[in-house]
């Protein structure tokens, strides 16, 4: 199995990097950009086929290390 973990800043947390990217896209003339928030993606190969165990392990990985839950949210997607 494979998993993709997406970590993003919580709503309301200032994202100066996203703002800078947003400004660059606007200055490049890319049409229709409203706002940009930057995040991180972790692509993880999983051993075993137990989906529930994998979800639990990944949530633990996020809480312990991958996300700082003071300012970040995470989303876990597991695929076959």
């Amino acid at each position: 199995m494979k998993a993709r973990v997406t970590v993003t800043l919580k709503t309301g947390v200032l994202d100066p990097q996203g703002k800078a990217i947003e400004g660059a896209l606007v200055s490049l003339g890319v049409a229709g950009i409203g706002s940009v928030r930057q995040g991180k993606i972790f692509d993880i190969d999983l051993r075993g086929e137990d989906r529930q165990a994998a979800e639990k392990a990944l949530a633990s990985a996020c809480d312990k290390l991958l996300a700082n839950t003071v300012i970040e949210d995470y989303k876990i997607d597991i695929s076959a």
Partner: protein
């Protein structure tokens, strides 16, 4: 006073803080991130500045989970002193020794300059050689020093007098202009609830000798040596 200075891969201010501690007569005990115990009879743990693990993932995130941090948390829980400077402050927050997080500077630039700090209280193990309200002239050098915490935590820090230092001008005035990184309330450093853990972005260890520009940082090390345990 026996001071354990912990070196993580990428620490680069461990030597300077060791010099500052030795200057006031502390016994400096080097410690390594992969150790599982602190040196015997450690009074003070120092988490030094630098770029542990190249700031990968988040500043201080990986160092905050290093093997030795369990021993540091146990030391702090016993009331032992911990001084966490710059990257060390980021590590302390990531390790749960202090609340909140140091986020990217609001203006996105790395700041490296002299900076005045207002001493918010002068009755702690770290600051009793200063005067309350004194503006001390030290240095800052960081890209992620923007202190963020939730509203309840901020209220608790302010209400319980746990803000250690604020960025100010030479007269001690704290304004939007004196805030170099967007930190809430101009916060430059905070204490744990027991006042035995201090995390701060500025570098007192840089200013201990007139040869390198001033001695306003020395008071912190003189405070620590004069009273090795928290009051």
């Amino acid at each position: 006073m026996r001071a354990a200075v912990i070196t993580f891969p990428g620490s680069n201010r461990d030597g300077d803080v060791a010099k500052a501690l030795a200057r006031v007569g502390a016994a400096v005990l080097p410690a390594w991130h992969a150790d599982t115990a602190l040196p015997e009879r450690t009074d003070l743990v120092v988490l030094p500045g630098g770029f542990s693990y190249g700031d990968y993932l988040r500043c201080g995130a990986i160092a905050g989970r290093a093997a030795i941090m369990d021993a540091v948390r146990a030391h702090a829980a016993r009331g032992g002193l911990v001084l966490a400077i710059c990257n060390g402050f980021q590590i302390a927050c990531e390790a749960g020794l202090l609340p909140g997080v140091l986020a990217r500077n609001a203006h996105l630039r790395f700041v490296c300059k002299r900076q005045h700090l207002r001493v918010e209280r002068a009755d702690t193990a770290f600051t009793h050689r200063y005067a309350k309200g004194q503006a001390i002239d030290v240095c800052i050098a960081h890209g992620e020093g923007n202190y963020i915490c939730d509203a309840a935590t901020l209220e608790r820090l302010e209400g319980e007098g746990l803000v250690a230092f604020r960025y100010c001008d030479s007269s001690g005035a704290v304004t939007a202009e004196t805030n170099p990184n967007g930190s809430q309330g101009g916060i430059a450093g905070i204490y744990s609830a027991g006042l035995n853990v201090l995390g701060m972005m500025p570098h007192p260890e840089n200013l201990i000798d007139p040869l390198t520009g001033g001695t306003d940082g020395l008071g912190m090390f003189e405070s620590l040596i004069a009273r090795p345990r928290a009051a």
